[in-house]
């Protein structure tokens, strides 16, 4: 780690300043490690909302009303810094990456924060936050977050999906470093394909996203930053085991290869071979799983070119269903009702970024990926096989209009997505070719108001033109009181079979009434963020979003308990989402965060506007964390309360197989203690500590091949309490 650059800063504080009125300061902000310029870092005058952002070369110009002045420099996933400037010589500033704090030197920073600069309401979850949920992959990463709900899809597959703004997570664009990631054939189980130990930070943008990454961010945008080749963490090793018998090993390695090249290897393996049937209904509560996951990338940091190239390979296998069904069994010939889901994924990805040393505000970038993925398996006697090949490229040019207050991005993208699926005896084929173009103008000036207005046009070979206009605005009423607003339209093309899996592990017959059309939604909303700083500082964030669908693919389980009918929306479908979150810092060691959420989600199902199934209207969330200095001891607990959820209609069943119209309200508690050491930590914890389980989650579990079987009416946990232990071992990179 290069501490030298940060040490350069304080010298500034000691330079003898001459006091003057209005002064123009110029400087550059870089990352402490690697000296990469930080694009879009905020430089702000302390105690005022006067500020600016750095351009693509990390340079900034800021007019201040006096000298000396305190400047606050901040950037997403970096440690904010405050310096005193006494004269107007060129400032060379550097920020340390927030990840460097973990278990190391440096400051007790917040584990989550709202990006103060972004006109989009965007919360950043740092590694410190992500470590609060020790298991296992992306689906657990949101357990300590109030904005994102995680729920099980059914009682057999163990699949978890997220819900945002009261709607399915498929309406959120989940990118890995700005490349489309969890979509297409892996949109259901994909959260399990991102190991938690790979994550460096997660940006959660609520509401409609930016046009730059495509048309799909209908209700939000989640960007996953994974561990970088240039890292302070040379070696990271983690082992984990839980009370179900799941074991997990993770190994990360990052190092430099010569002057300009560096690489990172990320490895993950997990294994669960035991039969878990705690409710003794003859069905495994969780499938047996085994996964190997590998990512390797190379980074080149030249003077004019910054480039990355990487590969991701993954194989994940699940075998579940009735007890006794395992990896060696065949769905068609086994006596037991089985579940198999084997996913293979290979991805080649990269980015190239060109800088212009003489025009530092200009940038030219290309991000691209080539993906092939395959899902094979099925449930009962129903065999599914899907293949998807996709090519994605996004070409972005950024520049300014006269000053860096007026920034714009324009570019073109291409998505080729080729699907080939077979379910039972039906074949579904689709080849999408979608060229697109976008333009986004940002006013990120020093005034109270900033906004981003953008639009994109995509020419879909099957569905015609998609036009997605979007607007985001932010107004700083006061330095600690910020209003945001957003509105825009988004699209996505559904994958009917994969997305109906959760309802199909049942005796329901799939009835595709018409060819699915793209889903189109408008989303609008706003938020208020109120900050009271100081020793007993607290923060209040309230947001409200409204989503309405022009078209939505309806998965109708209400019409008949023997059917899953799929058709395009006829009538209205909307979601109102309100959330208020209060976080308070009681002391350096003790933080509490509480949230209340209200959802009103209605859609026209079988000709009737009614509550969407499996949504709690009200939810309460409380998280408390206590950490001693340098996290030698860390205790974290979360309590969540969910109000009742509507269950699809089962009145047409014979009495013993009917279900109530609504679920019971329930409470979940998670808890973790960790003890830090110089080079890592040991942790023990529990998810669902009080072992809450949904009674009898499967309808007619005794007769899975009969006419009443349904594993899809799941509204609560099936497997119950998990207790886990694990350790992390980290070796720092050598000082340069």
């Amino acid at each position: 780690m290069n501490f030298k650059s940060i040490i350069g800063l304080p010298i500034l504080c000691f330079m003898l300043g001459h006091s003057a009125s209005s002064q123009t300061l110029e400087g550059k902000v870089i990352a402490t490690n690697g000296a990469e310029p930080l694009v879009g870092a905020t430089v702000r005058q302390l105690g005022s909302i006067k500020g600016t952002v750095t351009d693509v070369a990390g340079n900034f110009t800021l007019t201040v009303d006096r000298l000396p002045v305190d400047l606050v420099i901040s950037f997403v996933s970096f440690q904010p810094d405050t310096i005193t400037v006494t004269n107007n010589s060129f400032l060379n500033l550097s920020l340390k990456e927030a990840v460097e704090i973990i278990g190391e030197v440096v400051i007790q920073s917040n584990s989550t924060f709202f990006d103060p600069l972004q006109p989009i309401l965007s919360e950043v979850l740092t590694e410190k936050e992500l470590e609060k949920a020790a298991c296992c992959n992306l689906s657990e990463s949101f357990e300590t977050n109030a904005s994102i709900d995680v729920s099980f899809t059914d009682a057999v597959s163990g699949g978890k999906i997220i819900k945002v703004l009261g709607l399915d997570g498929k309406y959120v664009q989940i990118n890995r470093e700005n490349l489309p990631n969890i979509r297409g054939l892996i949109s259901r189980y994909g959260l399990g394909f991102i190991p938690g130990t790979w994550l460096q930070s997660i940006d959660v943008g609520k509401g409609i996203g930016s046009v730059v990454s495509g048309y799909e961010s209908m209700t939000g945008q989640i960007n996953l930053e994974i561990k970088k080749p240039i890292s302070n963490e040379a070696i990271y090793f983690n082992a984990y085991a839980n009370s179900f018998g799941r074991t997990e090993l993770n190994f990360n390695r990052a190092f430099k290869i010569g002057e300009k090249w560096s690489t990172a290897f990320l490895l993950h393996a997990d294994y669960l071979s035991s039969t878990i049937d705690r409710n003794e209904d003859g069905f495994q509560d969780l499938p047996k799983t085994r996964q190997l996951n590998f990512l390797n990338r190379y980074a080149y940091n030249g003077d004019r070119v910054i480039s990355q190239l990487g590969i991701h390979l993954m194989i994940d296998e699940k075998a579940g269903g009735q007890n006794g069904f395992g990896f060696g069994d065949d769905l068609l010939t086994a006596n037991a009702y089985g579940f198999r889901n084997d996913t293979k994924r290979a991805e080649l990805f990269g980015k190239i970024f060109l800088t212009f040393p003489d025009k530092p505000y200009k940038g030219l970038g290309l991000v691209y990926s080539l993906v092939t993925q395959e899902v094979a398996g099925g449930f009962g006697r129903n065999i599914y096989r899907g293949e998807e090949q996709s090519i994605y490229g996004n070409f972005i040019y950024s520049n300014i209009i006269s000053t860096s207050f007026h920034q714009y991005k324009l570019g073109t993208s291409l998505l080729v997505d080729d699907f080939d699926e077979v379910y039972k005896d039906s074949v579904f084929q689709r080849k999408e070719v979608v060229p697109g173009a976008f333009f986004e103008y940002s006013y990120l000036g020093a005034s109270d108001l900033s906004f981003v207005v953008g639009g994109r046009v995509d020419e879909h070979n099957l569905y015609g033109t998609f036009f997605s206009p979007r607007l985001h605005a932010k107004y700083d009423f006061h330095k600690d009181l910020t209003f945001r607003a957003a509105a825009g339209r988004g699209y996505r093309v559904p994958n009917a079979i994969i997305e109906s899996y959760q309802a199909l592990i049942s005796s329901r017959e799939l009835v595709v009434e018409e060819a699915p059309l793209p889903e189109v939604s408008w989303n609008a909303g706003g938020s208020v963020l109120f900050n009271i700083k100081g020793k007993d500082g607290y923060q209040v964030v309230a947001d409200y979003f409204y989503t309405t669908f022009e078209n939505q693919l309806i998965f109708d389980r209400d019409r008949s308990s023997n059917q899953l009918a799929i058709y395009n929306l006829e009538g209205r479908s909307y979601a109102n989402s309100f959330q208020i979150e209060v976080s308070k810092r009681f002391s350096e060691a003790f933080n509490v965060k509480g949230a209340f959420k209200y959802y009103d989600v209605k859609r026209t199902i079988n000709g009737r506007l009614r509550d969407a199934p499996f949504i709690s209207k009200n939810r309460l969330f409380l998280n408390a964390s206590y950490a001693t200095r340098f996290e030698k001891w860390k205790i974290d607990g979360t309590i969540q309360w969910f109000s009742k959820k509507r269950i699809p209609d089962t009145q047409d069943n014979i009495e013993q197989f009917r279900r109530p119209g609504f679920s019971d309200p329930y409470t979940l508690v998670n808890f973790q203690i960790s003890r830090g050491f110089r080079k890592g930590s040991v942790y023990v914890g529990s998810e669902n500590l009080f072992d809450f389980r949904q009674d009898n989650p499967i309808v007619d579990a005794e007769n899975p091949f009969g006419n009443n079987f349904d594993s899809g009416l799941v509204w609560g946990p099936v497997a119950g309490r998990v207790i886990y232990v694990g350790f992390r071992y980290k070796i720092k990179a050598k000082h340069e």
Partner: protein, 117 residues
């Protein structure tokens, strides 16, 4: 007899904690961080504070678990002197540049970053 034992026990619980300070070759904020981080995880250490102005490393420790000699030894192992003991030369070499003596610059203002005090 029992009363006496109880008294001596409670006294020794108090007595088990002792504060000690070593003169050390600390230079800057980064040194303060390095030492405070490292000694926090040293066996028997309750709390650590590095006073940059007085160049003192102050440690509150459990006398049953460690002793000043151990603490001093650890300081030298991570590249700093402790009273009469000199720093381990290899560890010193590996310190960030700013923490080496001679590279001295004033870092007073930087202290405010420390733990958001």
């Amino acid at each position: 007899m029992i009363a006496l034992l109880t008294v001596s026990f409670s006294v020794s619980a108090q007595k088990n904690e002792k504060k000690v300070a070593f003169k050390s070759s600390v230079v800057c904020f980064m040194c303060k961080r390095t030492i405070e981080y490292d000694l926090t995880f040293e066996k028997g250490v309750k709390s650590v504070n590095v006073d940059l102005e007085k160049k003192l490393v102050e440690v509150l420790y459990n006398t049953k678990k460690t002793n000043p000699e151990e603490l001093k030894k650890r300081l030298t192992q991570i590249g700093y002197s402790a009273d009469e003991l000199v720093a381990d030369p290899k560890a010193y070499e590996n310190l960030p540049g700013c923490c080496k003596i001679g590279d001295e610059v004033p870092h007073k203002n930087f202290e405010e970053l420390d733990d958001h005090k």
